[in-house]
Symmetry: C2
Subunit: 194 residues, 2 copies
């Protein structure tokens, strides 16, 4: 396929704005794949803040990071991402260059534990305040489960209300998949110049 | 902005599949910008087929191509794109690598002369038959005018019905523009391998 697939495109977008030494956020740690990826991306002087409400996700991610000797680049919080502004030290508010959300449930985990529109939108609003101009929030939206479809619709309505002077919002989605496949909504905070 | 803007992204997608010497289609010649671009893209051994129902568009495009000494790479038809299968010689059926549609009205022209969903969808179906595996149809959809919004909705419904075994369909759209800004739907015909 000549189109970029969803997960590689999500990472490609982040890589346009995240440099070595940056501060980034994994708002939904889950199985830790993206946390590990972000830890590698920001390098030895970078910092990753990771959030997940499930002990299982935090533990698995911590082990994965330890295996790769990258545990010290990552601060993990077993808390909802809607508390990001309290968990992330003030010195890093305004310094974050990238954040990623995987919205849905933990693959292989408890399918009744899903992200919820109210807390997701609160987290996105807070992170949009906390990222630096030119920074990006990338959301990968899994909407195959019933709550996922509801969350998707809330999010689509919400992002349309983001002031165009504040941020650009991009949707990247395959249209003719047999089952609802994940898609991307990405938000880039505008700098004064663009 | 770190996101690719709509028109550059439309061209970037086409450039992934169109090589020198290829056969391509400008389904909506309009002011000839894309026709000229395609003529340059396919090089001296390539061929562009261009369609527009308006004499004004055909004349302006012919002049523009002549100015650039590229008139001989392009065959212009003052006909609707839904007749593409009759206008394009059979030898090139199955050989087309790229096609572009700009859906809406001719900028600066008669705003009552707009593309229509029925003929647009017929043209897309025929071109999807006529492009080669791995080839791409890129549609830039202007939906700020009332008929444009109707056409957009027909097209969105139509592309969702394209069999996933036949083609991939991608949507690329900015979500929070103050006025409806153009967006992309791109269709890549699958080859046996992907």
């Amino acid at each position: 396929m000549n189109f970029d697939r969803i997960l590689p495109y999500a990472r490609q977008l982040l890589e346009r704005v995240v440099d070595k030494g940056d501060v980034v956020v994994d708002a939904t740690v889950g199985n830790g794949h993206d946390t590990l990826y972000l830890a590698q991306l920001v390098g030895e002087h970078g910092r990753v803040y990771g959030f997940d409400i499930q002990q299982e996700a935090i533990d698995e991610t911590a082990s994965k990071l330890e295996e790769h000797h990258l545990r010290n680049r990552v601060m993990l919080f077993q808390e909802g991402h809607e508390l990001a502004d309290q968990a992330i030290p003030p010195v890093h508010h305004g310094a974050i260059s990238g954040a990623i959300f995987n919205l849905g449930y933990l693959p292989g985990g408890d399918e009744t534990l899903v992200t919820r529109p109210r807390t997701t939108i609160t987290a996105v609003e807070k992170l949009l305040d906390m990222i630096k101009p030119g920074g990006m929030i990338v959301m990968v939206i899994y909407h195959g489960h019933p709550e996922g479809a509801v969350e998707r619709d809330y999010l689509l309505r919400f992002v349309q209300t983001i002031d165009g002077e504040t941020a650009h919002v991009l949707r990247y989605q395959f249209m003719n998949t047999q089952t609802p496949s994940p898609f991307i909504i990405a938000i880039e905070k505008r700098s004064l110049r663009n």
